[in-house]
Amino acid sequence: MNIVFTVIYLLAALIVVTGFYIQSNKYLRSMVMTQAFQSFLIALIAILLGIELKQYTFFILAVLVILLRSFLVTYFLAAKIPKNKNYLYESKLPTTYYLLVDLAFIVVSIFIVYSISFIHIVSRIFPESNIILFPMLLFFQGLFIIASRRRTIAQILGYIEEENSLILMGTFILPVPIIIESSVFLDVLILVVIFSIISIEKTEHKPVEELRG
């Protein structure tokens, strides 16, 4: 347990907190910016690991995260926030509802998924720690955002959060080859572009009669 590890541990916890912040937030712009901050934290973790383990791939990862997630994706998304004031808000449900349902969902999923199985997956980077828990938490938060929100931009934020958690998980368990990991980023980027094409006409998603059954 050296100091770098402690810092990374706290940063990982902070990432989970940003996930909760996105979850409880109602303002789209603030959600998008929190996403940028979250990605920046991941880059920070990658840089710290790179310095600690002296592996240059982590620096590539950090640069990619900052460049693609913190800037490009944020730029595309921020440009797509509706200017109309009525659409600035994401939802009218109370924050408490989101927080508590999210909490219940996460606690149940973590107990099912993590404590039964993933607890036995030992992190190669940090043996003897349970740091994998944090990406798992983030992953389920992302899923919950996709499930609970109706606005396109909020759903895509949930998806980005999910991919963020994967990068974090890959980093903590055992970094997969950088070329595969970098495709995760391009993936999101293209998805955001597709989103910007679709969102010109459709910004909200509700059950449709024709698509039932």
Binding site: Y9, A13, L99, L103
Partner: protein, 313 residues
């Protein structure tokens, strides 16, 4: 034995006598920040003495419960004062009667008794305050209990004195993730119970009345006792925050030295008051319906990190 009685008495008397002073100091400081002269720091004592001299008026429909509830609440807070380390850091006579968990439950019990007492008056204003308080307490008490659990999980015991010793002897535990977030959640709850910004519960406007609604129908002695027990509640919670979570160090527990604790506690409380003051003067008040969101955040943190301790440990 004499020593033990002396320790017990000094803890109890310190809590009872010192708690109004804190409120006075806080009000004075706040006035200074706002460039007012402000009341004397002994103003809460004057209020209490003045009210004690006045007669108690009771509504026609009230039963005895209305009259006795403040005294019962005061008694419960007195019991809490004896079982958690708010002055002494070693066990005293009544310590064995309960642990952290009992403390949290007793806090809830006192709130409950106060509420049914005030509901008994049949006043609309009081029942409005009571219903608000109940809907908020739903989260605040849950958080209180889970925070205590989190601490118990760190130290492996739910005896507050042992916890205190554990944290003194393991300084690194104070930096553990669970502890940090437990402190954060507890501080949020403390701010709520203190009734300061961002969830101001005192005040004469109808929308802001949470605690004041409880006291609305009381007068004279009963009101004095009610106010006094509120002061004690703030002192007890604040002392737990200081002595168990934030700065567990610097307490004495040998016979002649423990009187110095009065000074130590005073210093610690000044520190806490300054923090509260900064928060209080820099934040805007939340709307009444947002208070529940605020408490939900605290609750989320406490539960989440309770789970983390369970999974990680």
């Amino acid at each position: 034995m004499l020593e033990l009685i002396l320790e017990t008495l000094s803890q109890y008397l310190f809590v009872v006598l010192f708690s109004p002073l804190l409120i006075g100091i806080f009000e004075k400081f706040k006035a200074n920040v706002e460039s007012r002269r402000g009341p004397s720091i002994f103003q809460p004592y004057y209020d209490i003495f003045k009210l004690l001299k006045k007669e108690t008026v009771i509504t026609e429909n009230s039963s005895r419960l209305f009259l006795y509830a403040p005294y019962m609440a005061f008694g419960i807070y007195s019991l809490i004062a004896l079982i958690i380390p708010v002055f002494m850091t070693k066990p005293i006579i009544f310590t064995a009667s309960g642990d952290f968990f009992a403390g949290a439950i007793l806090f809830s019990l006192a709130a409950f008794i106060k509420i049914i007492g005030t509901m008994d008056s049949g006043s609309n204003f009081s029942s409005m305050g009571a219903s608000r308080l109940m809907s908020f307490n739903f989260f605040s008490e849950g958080t209180l209990i889970t925070v205590f659990f989190a601490v118990a999980l760190i130290s492996g015991t739910n005896n507050p004195y042992t916890t205190n010793h554990y944290l003194i002897s393991h300084p690194l535990s104070n930096l553990s993730l669970v502890h940090i977030f437990a402190v954060f959640a507890f501080f949020m709850i403390f701010m709520y119970e203190f009734g300061k910004m961002p969830t101001q519960s005192e005040g004469n406007q109808e929308m802001g009345m949470i605690d004041s609604g409880i006291d609305y129908e009381y007068s004279g002695k009963a009101l004095a006792v009610n106010k006094w027990s509120s002061y004690m509640k703030v002192y007890l919670l604040g002392s737990v925050l200081i002595n168990v979570f934030l700065i567990p160090w610097g307490m004495f527990n040998t016979f002649p030295l423990f009187f110095l604790n009065a000074i130590v506690m005073f210093g610690k409380w000044i520190f806490l008051i300054i923090i509260v003051l900064i928060v209080d003067t820099s934040l805007a008040k939340l709307r009444l319906f947002k208070v529940i969101d605020y408490l939900a955040v605290a609750f989320t943190f406490s539960i989440l990190f309770l789970i983390l301790t369970e999974v990680i440990a």
